[in-house]
Protein backbone atom coordinates (compact mmCIF):
# COMPACT_ATOMS: atom_id res chain seq x y z
CA UNK A 1 0.00 0.00 0.00
CA UNK A 2 1.46 3.37 -0.93
CA UNK A 3 0.86 6.45 1.24
CA UNK A 4 -2.18 7.60 -0.68
CA UNK A 5 -3.77 4.15 -0.48
CA UNK A 6 -3.05 4.01 3.26
CA UNK A 7 -4.84 7.31 3.79
CA UNK A 8 -7.76 6.22 1.64
CA UNK A 9 -8.01 2.88 3.45
CA UNK A 10 -7.94 4.72 6.80
CA UNK A 11 -10.71 7.08 5.67
CA UNK A 12 -12.89 4.21 4.46
CA UNK A 13 -12.25 1.83 7.35
CA UNK A 14 -11.49 3.74 10.53
CA UNK A 15 -13.03 7.19 10.22
CA UNK A 16 -16.64 5.99 9.93
CA UNK A 17 -16.29 5.02 13.62
CA UNK A 18 -15.46 8.58 14.68
CA UNK A 19 -18.69 9.14 16.63
CA UNK A 20 -18.41 5.82 18.45
CA UNK A 21 -14.77 6.49 19.37
CA UNK A 22 -15.52 10.05 20.49
CA UNK A 23 -18.52 8.87 22.52
CA UNK A 24 -16.38 6.31 24.29
CA UNK A 25 -13.54 8.81 24.74
CA UNK A 26 -15.99 11.18 26.40
CA UNK A 27 -16.95 8.41 28.81
CA UNK A 28 -13.34 7.68 29.64
CA UNK A 29 -11.97 11.21 29.83
CA UNK A 30 -15.02 12.81 31.43
CA UNK A 31 -14.75 16.11 29.56
CA UNK A 32 -14.97 17.27 25.97
CA UNK A 33 -11.49 18.73 25.58
CA UNK A 34 -9.71 15.58 26.79
CA UNK A 35 -12.14 13.38 24.85
CA UNK A 36 -11.24 15.20 21.67
CA UNK A 37 -7.50 14.85 22.31
CA UNK A 38 -7.96 11.21 23.19
CA UNK A 39 -9.97 10.50 20.04
CA UNK A 40 -7.43 12.34 17.89
CA UNK A 41 -4.49 10.42 19.42
CA UNK A 42 -6.39 7.17 18.94
CA UNK A 43 -6.91 7.81 15.24
CA UNK A 44 -3.33 8.92 14.76
CA UNK A 45 -2.09 5.69 16.34
CA UNK A 46 -4.57 3.71 14.26
CA UNK A 47 -3.23 5.37 11.13
CA UNK A 48 0.37 4.60 12.06
CA UNK A 49 -0.49 0.96 12.64
CA UNK A 50 -3.17 0.59 9.99
CA UNK A 51 -1.23 -2.30 8.41
CA UNK A 52 -1.82 -4.26 11.60
CA UNK A 53 -5.55 -4.03 11.20
CA UNK A 54 -6.87 -7.13 9.48
CA UNK A 55 -9.54 -6.40 6.95
CA UNK A 56 -12.79 -8.17 7.69
CA UNK A 57 -12.32 -7.93 11.46
CA UNK A 58 -14.14 -5.47 13.70
CA UNK A 59 -12.51 -2.09 13.15
CA UNK A 60 -14.54 -0.37 15.87
CA UNK A 61 -13.36 -2.92 18.45
CA UNK A 62 -9.77 -2.42 17.25
CA UNK A 63 -10.07 1.36 17.61
CA UNK A 64 -11.66 1.07 21.06
CA UNK A 65 -8.78 -1.13 22.20
CA UNK A 66 -6.32 1.55 21.05
CA UNK A 67 -8.47 4.14 22.80
CA UNK A 68 -8.53 2.17 26.03
CA UNK A 69 -4.76 1.61 26.03
CA UNK A 70 -4.11 5.28 25.26
CA UNK A 71 -6.43 6.34 28.06
CA UNK A 72 -4.82 3.99 30.57
CA UNK A 73 -1.29 5.00 29.60
CA UNK A 74 -1.74 8.72 29.31
CA UNK A 75 -4.97 10.07 30.66
CA UNK A 76 -6.15 8.20 33.69
CA UNK A 77 -3.04 9.07 35.66
CA UNK A 78 -3.67 12.77 35.34
CA UNK A 79 -7.47 12.85 35.31
CA UNK A 80 -8.14 10.85 38.45
CA UNK A 81 -7.23 7.88 40.51
CA UNK A 82 -9.35 4.83 41.17
CA UNK A 83 -13.02 5.62 41.25
CA UNK A 84 -15.60 4.65 43.78
CA UNK A 85 -18.88 3.58 42.32
CA UNK A 86 -21.95 3.93 44.42
CA UNK A 87 -25.41 2.84 43.49
CA UNK A 88 -27.50 3.99 46.38
CA UNK A 89 -30.84 2.29 46.13
CA UNK A 90 -32.44 5.05 48.17
CA UNK A 91 -31.32 7.62 45.65
CA UNK A 92 -32.71 5.88 42.62
CA UNK A 93 -36.44 5.39 42.90
CA UNK A 94 -37.63 2.19 41.43
CA UNK A 95 -34.56 0.19 42.33
CA UNK A 96 -35.97 -1.13 45.57
CA UNK A 97 -39.42 -1.92 44.30
CA UNK A 98 -38.12 -3.75 41.30
CA UNK A 99 -40.53 -5.93 39.46
CA UNK A 100 -40.72 -9.64 39.62
CA UNK A 101 -38.56 -10.95 36.85
CA UNK A 102 -41.06 -13.44 35.61
CA UNK A 103 -43.69 -10.70 35.14
CA UNK A 104 -41.37 -8.87 32.83
CA UNK A 105 -40.20 -11.84 30.88
CA UNK A 106 -43.17 -14.04 30.44
CA UNK A 107 -45.75 -12.20 28.47
CA UNK A 108 -48.56 -13.79 26.51
CA UNK A 109 -46.46 -13.73 23.37
CA UNK A 110 -43.37 -15.04 25.07
CA UNK A 111 -41.51 -11.84 24.11
CA UNK A 112 -40.50 -9.22 26.64
CA UNK A 113 -42.42 -5.99 26.26
CA UNK A 114 -39.24 -4.27 27.33
CA UNK A 115 -38.02 -4.68 23.77
CA UNK A 116 -40.57 -2.05 22.75
CA UNK A 117 -38.87 0.60 24.84
CA UNK A 118 -38.05 3.86 23.13
CA UNK A 119 -34.53 5.20 22.73
CA UNK A 120 -35.36 8.17 24.98
CA UNK A 121 -36.64 5.87 27.70
CA UNK A 122 -33.45 3.84 27.64
CA UNK A 123 -31.36 7.04 27.75
CA UNK A 124 -33.51 8.39 30.57
CA UNK A 125 -33.12 5.18 32.55
CA UNK A 126 -29.35 5.26 31.93
CA UNK A 127 -29.31 8.85 33.17
CA UNK A 128 -31.13 7.89 36.35
CA UNK A 129 -28.82 5.23 37.73
CA UNK A 130 -25.86 7.48 38.57
CA UNK A 131 -22.92 8.55 36.44
CA UNK A 132 -20.55 5.74 37.40
CA UNK A 133 -23.17 3.04 36.92
CA UNK A 134 -24.12 4.48 33.55
CA UNK A 135 -20.47 4.50 32.58
CA UNK A 136 -19.86 0.89 33.54
CA UNK A 137 -22.97 -0.29 31.67
CA UNK A 138 -21.99 1.61 28.51
CA UNK A 139 -18.38 0.42 28.69
CA UNK A 140 -19.70 -3.12 28.73
CA UNK A 141 -22.77 -3.04 26.52
CA UNK A 142 -21.92 -0.34 23.98
CA UNK A 143 -18.12 -0.40 23.84
CA UNK A 144 -17.92 -4.16 24.37
CA UNK A 145 -15.04 -4.01 26.85
CA UNK A 146 -14.37 -7.11 28.95
CA UNK A 147 -14.58 -6.97 32.74
CA UNK A 148 -10.77 -6.96 32.87
CA UNK A 149 -10.60 -3.99 30.52
CA UNK A 150 -13.30 -2.12 32.44
CA UNK A 151 -11.40 -2.80 35.66
CA UNK A 152 -8.28 -1.27 34.09
CA UNK A 153 -10.24 1.75 32.89
CA UNK A 154 -12.04 2.30 36.18
CA UNK A 155 -9.08 1.40 38.36
CA UNK A 156 -10.99 -1.17 40.40
CA UNK A 157 -10.95 -4.97 40.84
CA UNK A 158 -12.68 -7.22 38.27
CA UNK A 159 -15.06 -8.51 40.96
CA UNK A 160 -16.20 -4.95 41.61
CA UNK A 161 -16.97 -4.49 37.91
CA UNK A 162 -19.10 -7.61 37.94
CA UNK A 163 -21.08 -6.67 41.05
CA UNK A 164 -21.56 -3.04 40.03
CA UNK A 165 -22.68 -4.05 36.56
CA UNK A 166 -25.13 -6.52 38.01
CA UNK A 167 -26.62 -3.87 40.32
CA UNK A 168 -26.73 -1.29 37.56
CA UNK A 169 -28.60 -3.67 35.25
CA UNK A 170 -31.08 -4.48 38.02
CA UNK A 171 -31.67 -0.77 38.50
CA UNK A 172 -32.12 -0.28 34.76
CA UNK A 173 -34.51 -3.19 34.56
CA UNK A 174 -36.60 -1.73 37.37
CA UNK A 175 -36.75 1.68 35.71
CA UNK A 176 -37.57 0.27 32.29
CA UNK A 177 -40.25 -1.88 33.81
CA UNK A 178 -41.78 1.19 35.43
CA UNK A 179 -41.76 3.09 32.14
CA UNK A 180 -43.39 0.10 30.48
CA UNK A 181 -46.11 0.10 33.15
CA UNK A 182 -46.66 3.83 32.71
CA UNK A 183 -47.09 3.42 28.99
CA UNK A 184 -49.50 0.57 29.52
CA UNK A 185 -47.12 -1.89 27.91
CA UNK A 186 -47.33 -4.15 30.94
CA UNK A 187 -50.08 -5.23 33.27
CA UNK A 188 -49.58 -4.36 36.94
Amino acid sequence: MDEKQRQEFFKQTALPHLNAVYDSALRLAGNEADAEDLAQTTFLKAFRFIEKFREGTDCKAWLLTILKNTFINQYRKRTRGPVTIELDEEKFPGVKDRPSLTTTIESATGESELMGMLDEEVEEALGSIGEESRKIVLLSDVDGFSYKEIAEIMGCPVGTVRSRLSRARRALRALLHRYALQRGMLRK
Binding site: E3, R6, Q7, F10, K11, L15, L18, N19, A20, V21, Y22, D23, S24, L26, E32, E36, A39, Q40, F43, L44, F47, R48, L101, T102, T104, I105, E106, S112, L114, M115, M117, L118, D119, V122, E123, L126, V137, L138, S140, D141, V142, S146, Y147, R162, L165, S166, R169, L172, R173, L176
Partner: protein, 96 residues
Protein backbone atom coordinates in the same frame (compact mmCIF):
# COMPACT_ATOMS: atom_id res chain seq x y z
CA UNK B 1 -25.95 -14.38 35.92
CA UNK B 2 -24.33 -11.11 34.91
CA UNK B 3 -21.04 -12.81 34.09
CA UNK B 4 -22.89 -15.48 32.13
CA UNK B 5 -24.75 -12.88 30.07
CA UNK B 6 -21.47 -11.09 29.37
CA UNK B 7 -19.64 -14.27 28.40
CA UNK B 8 -17.24 -13.86 31.31
CA UNK B 9 -17.55 -17.26 32.98
CA UNK B 10 -14.73 -19.79 32.96
CA UNK B 11 -15.33 -23.25 31.49
CA UNK B 12 -16.14 -24.94 34.80
CA UNK B 13 -18.44 -22.14 36.02
CA UNK B 14 -20.17 -22.05 32.66
CA UNK B 15 -20.84 -25.79 32.63
CA UNK B 16 -22.16 -25.68 36.22
CA UNK B 17 -24.47 -22.76 35.51
CA UNK B 18 -25.80 -24.31 32.31
CA UNK B 19 -26.60 -27.51 34.20
CA UNK B 20 -28.47 -25.41 36.76
CA UNK B 21 -30.36 -23.46 34.09
CA UNK B 22 -31.70 -26.69 32.64
CA UNK B 23 -33.61 -27.36 35.83
CA UNK B 24 -34.40 -23.82 37.08
CA UNK B 25 -36.99 -21.77 35.18
CA UNK B 26 -36.55 -18.77 37.54
CA UNK B 27 -32.87 -18.50 36.72
CA UNK B 28 -33.61 -18.93 33.01
CA UNK B 29 -35.95 -15.95 33.32
CA UNK B 30 -33.31 -13.94 35.15
CA UNK B 31 -30.81 -14.66 32.39
CA UNK B 32 -33.31 -13.75 29.67
CA UNK B 33 -34.24 -10.56 31.50
CA UNK B 34 -30.64 -9.44 31.94
CA UNK B 35 -29.87 -10.24 28.31
CA UNK B 36 -32.77 -8.07 27.20
CA UNK B 37 -31.62 -5.13 29.28
CA UNK B 38 -28.14 -5.55 27.80
CA UNK B 39 -29.55 -5.72 24.26
CA UNK B 40 -31.70 -2.64 24.87
CA UNK B 41 -28.70 -0.61 25.95
CA UNK B 42 -26.56 -1.88 23.06
CA UNK B 43 -29.27 -1.17 20.53
CA UNK B 44 -30.73 2.08 21.82
CA UNK B 45 -27.80 4.12 23.07
CA UNK B 46 -27.12 6.98 20.67
CA UNK B 47 -23.45 8.03 20.71
CA UNK B 48 -22.63 11.67 21.43
CA UNK B 49 -21.66 13.07 18.04
CA UNK B 50 -18.04 14.09 17.59
CA UNK B 51 -17.52 17.87 17.54
CA UNK B 52 -17.64 19.60 14.19
CA UNK B 53 -14.14 19.87 12.82
CA UNK B 54 -12.69 16.83 14.61
CA UNK B 55 -12.79 14.76 11.43
CA UNK B 56 -10.93 17.49 9.55
CA UNK B 57 -8.36 17.82 12.34
CA UNK B 58 -7.74 14.07 12.32
CA UNK B 59 -7.31 14.07 8.55
CA UNK B 60 -4.85 16.93 8.77
CA UNK B 61 -2.92 15.13 11.56
CA UNK B 62 -2.62 11.95 9.53
CA UNK B 63 -1.59 13.90 6.44
CA UNK B 64 1.27 15.41 8.49
CA UNK B 65 2.12 11.95 9.86
CA UNK B 66 2.17 10.60 6.31
CA UNK B 67 4.58 13.40 5.30
CA UNK B 68 6.87 12.53 8.21
CA UNK B 69 6.86 8.88 7.16
CA UNK B 70 7.61 9.91 3.58
CA UNK B 71 10.52 11.91 5.06
CA UNK B 72 13.60 11.90 2.80
CA UNK B 73 11.50 11.21 -0.26
CA UNK B 74 9.90 14.62 0.07
CA UNK B 75 12.12 17.39 -1.25
CA UNK B 76 11.75 20.75 0.46
CA UNK B 77 11.57 23.57 -2.08
CA UNK B 78 14.04 25.49 0.14
CA UNK B 79 16.66 22.78 0.06
CA UNK B 80 18.58 24.11 -2.98
CA UNK B 81 18.73 27.55 -1.33
CA UNK B 82 19.70 26.39 2.13
CA UNK B 83 22.21 23.67 1.22
CA UNK B 84 25.01 26.07 0.06
CA UNK B 85 24.68 27.98 3.35
CA UNK B 86 25.28 24.83 5.39
CA UNK B 87 28.12 23.82 3.08
CA UNK B 88 29.88 27.18 3.61
CA UNK B 89 29.06 27.13 7.33
CA UNK B 90 30.65 23.67 7.52
CA UNK B 91 33.78 24.93 5.79
CA UNK B 92 34.05 27.78 8.26
CA UNK B 93 33.71 25.36 11.16
CA UNK B 94 30.34 26.56 12.43
CA UNK B 95 28.39 24.28 14.66
CA UNK B 96 24.81 24.16 13.51
Amino acid sequence: MTAYVDGELGTAELAALERHLEICPDCRCRVADELRVKELVTRNHAPSPAPAGLRARILSTIARAADEVAGPGVESPLKPLVAPFFFVAGLLGWRV
